[in-house]
């Protein structure tokens, strides 16, 4: 019994508990529910309630393992979508579970690779406490689920007695391949980690007795699990576009196609890192750096240092190459200028944290064994207690030291109020334009609002746009405005597809609103 409670177990337990605390506390109140969270919950709803992957036409925008996982989670809960108060909270509870598992995996992987508890504790500290990480990791995002599977794949690859060149069971290799396959099926951008993972496997097992089988079966288990997505499309007769047409200017009209969607995604460039107006700069400067500049700057610097040390050490510091490559391979994906959303930084964060941890571990290794932990303890204390560094405590506009918004601010109560107002004042047969964040609650709790659809679907889905609304603003009864929804509508209106909805907005009367800080919600009644 005492053996289990060894020091490293206590550190591991403390790290996991810290993750549960920073992510669990105030989880349901902050941050505001966002559109993407609503979309994934709505698709999980479709899995459970309608036996399909989306309540609308599923056009292979993402592989479905993420919301299949959410649906499984919901199915296991006694109160289903309402177990934690509302559908998005229930999804966020799963994100908490994913984070706790990811923290455990991150700790163990870092400890194995670095051979240092200091590295593991520091890596999990930044993963758990960085405001940038906590903000997005609380949200119901496919990336959060994907990170868990990805870390599991790395965890398996680094298991066994000696990760550097020790034997590895083929069963473990297969499990790693399957976990990686599920990661890709959860969010396709996991593919960018494949080179780093195969590097780990290749370097570890080259020359070992099961090298050939391991490489073969890792690839096979990953590819075969990913291929199920393609098999699904084939069985639905949706693999290829009609007439094999991959013309991006003329999307196939009669049925959706997986390969066409992939082709389309590959051509959705928005400017590379060399372009100052590209999303990578927009989000770095506008959304990520203000939340936590340290993890980005120190993580990037540590990545480069680790990579350089790893490559120059002729294999002695291979962990530097591995950890650096994990961060860099995804960094290259972000920098190459594809279509990007704010939360795309999520998969980078565990590996930035791991790089910081590894580098610090190397640095303290020059100190005598007994005092190696001291720099790490000071670092953790400073980040936790110093309000100037803004991790847990901050200085508010009145000069008071207060907890970070993550731990005190409530925002989602406004969205709850908005939902309540609709339930009390809008008849269930009304035709509503909404944002996706409240979709599942309107469709899953009686009375059902069957005609409530997001402005995205009302702009693009023929069934909603043409059959329900007839693309006529007069057929809309209410528009439920989420925060900054008008901006999103304008952004999505480059081709004029939202004009008729914006026209409805211009011909409407505000019947309910709430404002707090920079959050403003409203309900508008269309004067049809």
């Amino acid at each position: 019994m005492f053996g289990w409670w060894r020091f490293d177990r206590i550190l591991l337990l403390a790290s996991v508990a810290a993750g549960a605390l920073t992510h669990g506390y105030n989880l349901f109140n902050y941050p505001l529910y966002i559109t993407d969270e609503g979309i994934y919950i709505q698709q999980a709803w479709a899995v459970l309630r309608e036996d399909r992957l989306s309540p609308y036409t599923y056009f292979y925008d993402h592989a479905p393992a993420g919301w299949l996982a959410i649906a499984t989670w919901v199915a296991l809960l006694p109160g289903q979508f309402q177990t934690f108060g509302n559908a998005l909270n229930t999804g966020r509870a799963l994100m908490l579970v994913c984070h706790v598992i990811s923290t455990f995996l991150l700790y163990r992987i870092t400890q194995r690779l670095s051979g240092s508890r200091v590295s593991a504790v520091v890596a999990t500290f930044f993963f758990n406490v960085s405001p940038l990480a906590v903000f997005y990791q609380r949200e119901v995002l496919l990336d959060n689920v994907m990170v868990m599977w990805l870390l599991l794949a790395v965890f398996f690859l680094t298991s066994g007695r000696e990760w550097r060149d020790g034997d590895l069971r083929i069963v473990t290799v297969i499990l790693s391949g399957l976990a990686f396959g599920v990661a890709v099926l959860t969010k396709e951008n996991a593919l960018f980690f494949a080179p780093a993972l195969t590097y780990v496997l290749f370097k570890r097992l080259r020359g070992r007795m099961n090298y050939r089988f391991s490489m073969g079966f890792w690839s096979f288990s990953a590819i075969s699990s990913i291929s199920i997505y393609f098999l699904y499309a084939t069985l639905k007769n949706e693999l290829l576009p009609s007439n094999f047409s991959f013309d991006l200017n003329n999307p196939p009209a009669d049925h959706v196609s997986l390969l066409y969607s992939i082709w389309w995604q590959l051509h959705r460039g928005e400017g590379t890192i060399l372009d100052a107006s590209s999303p990578v700069w927009r989000f770095s400067l506008g959304a990520w750096l203000p939340k936590d500049s340290f993890i980005l700057a120190a993580g990037a610097a540590a990545t480069l240092v680790n990579l350089a040390v790893g490559l120059l050490s002729h294999g002695r510091k291979r962990e530097g190459t591995i950890v650096g490559a994990l961060a860099l391979s995804y960094g290259v994906y972000l920098a190459r200028g594809s279509e990007m959303l704010e939360f795309y930084v999520v998969p980078l964060l565990p590996f930035l944290a791991m790089n910081i941890g590894l580098l610090l571990g190397w640095c303290v290794a020059v100190l005598p064994n007994r005092i190696r932990a001291i720099p790490a303890i000071i670092l953790v204390m400073v980040f936790t207690l110093n309000p100037l560094w803004g991790y847990v405590l901050v200085i508010d506009e009145f000069g008071h030291v207060v907890p970070h918004d993550l731990y005190k601010l409530g925002q989602t109560y406004m969205q709850e109020q908005q939902l309540q107002w609709i339930r009390q004042n809008v008849p269930p047969d009304a035709k509503l334009i909404i944002d996706d964040d409240m979709w599942a609650d309107l469709h899953d709790v009686k009375p059902y609002y069957r005609f409530a659809h997001s402005h995205f679907k009302a702009a693009s889905d023929p069934d909603v746009r043409d059959k329900l609304f007839g693309k006529d603003w007069r057929n809309i009864d209410f528009i439920v405005m989420s925060n900054k929804m008008r901006d999103a509508m304008t952004l999505n209106n480059a081709d004029g597809s939202e004009s008729w909805i914006l026209q409805a907005l211009d011909n409407s009367t505000r019947v309910w609103s709430v404002q707090h800080g920079d959050v403003e919600l409203e309900v508008d009644k269309v004067n049809g």
């Binding site: 069971r169 007795m209 089988f213 079966f217 096979f220 075969s224 069985l235």
Partner: protein, 437 residues
């Protein structure tokens, strides 16, 4: 009609799930040795040999083996082991005068060189089959350890040192050493046939030995004489007397040590024609069915061992279903409208089939590296093309075996040997390993 269709789909679904589990399990057995370093090192032969101590009776049962029997005798006689500790008997039925004459001729030449530990032993009583010959041999010989080599076997000169050392150091009474077909590029089925042996002896048999349920091979198997006598010798009515005696010995709780060291394997050849191959497979499948029917496996000590015995003995029949089912599942997936989840489940055995094909292709390179061979780039391509036909041949042999068993046909369909493995492999068989003292 829709009800019939539903029943068909439901049946296919259940079968898919069962076959997927079965295939995954078989895949694990085939990868067992490579799965863990412990299994891999446990399979190896000793690095150094102890001085010869045990005496061996080498039985060479032969029927119509005029072409190869002299070479076989030569190889056994020239083994690196003291002659006084080796007793070699060529066992023939009296009506096989050709083989007897060739053996006698070779023995006469050896005697002129002063080698006198080889004899011909004949029998005239029925049945005319290998187990009967072995029982005759067992009764007429006296050395401590009894072993069998087939006429076409190309044995390693140090095989007796390996077994002597293993028996002395590990205190085991039964040792099965590896047997390996070598002529992997002789014809369209030889690569897959060679690999079956490779996976069976190098991996799967180790799993059986650890589980305490070992269907032994037909040669290069070494028994302490008293173990064989306690087991009652070989079953003369069984077409796979080797697997049968292994199961009976296992039920006596006698541990079996399996040695597969690429250096010390006994080399053999694939059957020379498809007809011979089918006959050989029919005999094996029928023999397994006979062993299953006989029920000696019910005396195995644990439930897991009995389950493994049933699974192993039924394996050829399961293989039949798998080989045929792949076609049915593909047809069902794309012709019958089922929910997508059902269709994906129906495809799972197909994924496992691909996994087995991949296993075979990687296995080819493992085999080639172990024996310093270089397959051409066309070999894996041929394997891909012939993989399913090969499974269908096995299915056919299994169906044929079942029909024969149901009809009570029990004659021994002998496999011909032409020595294809010897032409290529002879130069590489130099002695290896060191002696202590």
């Amino acid at each position: 009609m829709p009800v019939l269709l539903d029943v068909f789909v439901l049946g296919s679904l259940v079968l898919s799930i069962l076959l997927t589990i079965q295939s995954a399990y078989t895949l694990y057995l085939m990868l067992y040795t490579w799965d863990s370093p412990e299994s891999h090192s446990a399979a190896k032969a000793p690095a150094e040999f102890l001085p010869p101590a045990r005496s061996f009776t080498v039985m060479l049962p032969a029927r119509h083996e005029e072409d190869v029997i002299q070479t076989t005798i030569e190889r056994v006689v020239r083994a690196n082991y003291p002659a006084h500790l080796l007793e070699i008997v060529v066992i023939c039925k009296t009506d096989d005068q050709g083989t007897i004459a060739q053996a006698e001729e070779k023995i006469a030449r050896l005697r002129s060189e002063g080698v006198s530990n080889v004899n011909v032993l004949t029998f005239s009583t029925p049945p005319t089959n290998k187990p009967h010959g072995l029982n005759v041999g067992l009764a007429a010989t006296s050395h401590q350890i009894v072993t069998i080599f087939d006429s076409e076997d190309d044995i390693h000169p140090d095989i007796f040192n390996v077994v002597n050392t293993v028996m002395l150091t590990e205190n085991v009474n039964v040792v099965q050493s590896g047997v390996q077909l070598m002529n992997y590029d002789s014809n369209w089925y030889s690569t897959l046939n060679v690999l079956e042996y490779f996976f069976w002896f190098k991996s799967r048999l180790h799993y059986h030995a650890r589980a305490g349920m070992t269907p032994l091979g037909g040669n290069t198997v070494f028994f302490a004489r008293n173990v064989l006598e306690r087991a009652g010798g070989w079953d003369e009515r069984n077409l796979t007397e080797d697997a049968d005696v292994g199961i009976r010995i296992s039920s006596m709780r006698e541990p079996v040590r399996v040695v597969y060291d690429d250096r010390y394997v006994t080399r053999e050849e694939t059957p020379p024609s498809l007809n011979h191959f089918i006959r050989q497979r029919t005999r094996w499948s029928q023999g397994f069915l006979q062993t299953l029917k006989k029920g000696d496996w019910t005396r195995l000590p644990t439930f897991e061992q009995r389950l493994l015995a049933i699974y192993t003995l039924m394996f050829p029949s399961i293989q039949t279903v798998l080989g045929l089912y792949v076609v049915v599942s593909l047809a069902t997936m794309f012709t019958i409208k089922t929910p997508v989840l059902v269709a994906i489940t129906l495809s799972l055995p197909l994924y496992l089939l691909l996994a087995h094909l991949l296993l075979a292709i990687i296995g080819l390179y493992e085999f080639a590296a172990a024996h310093h061979l270089k397959p051409t780039w066309t070999t894996p391509l041929v394997m891909i093309i012939t993989y399913l036909p090969y499974q269908w041949v096995l299915s056919y042999a299994s169906v044929r075996a079942t029909i024969r068993e149901l009809r009570g046909i029990n004659n021994w369909e002998k496999t011909a040997h032409v020595g294809a493995h010897r032409v290529e492999s002879a130069p590489s068989r130099s002695a290896a390993g060191a002696k202590i003292g």
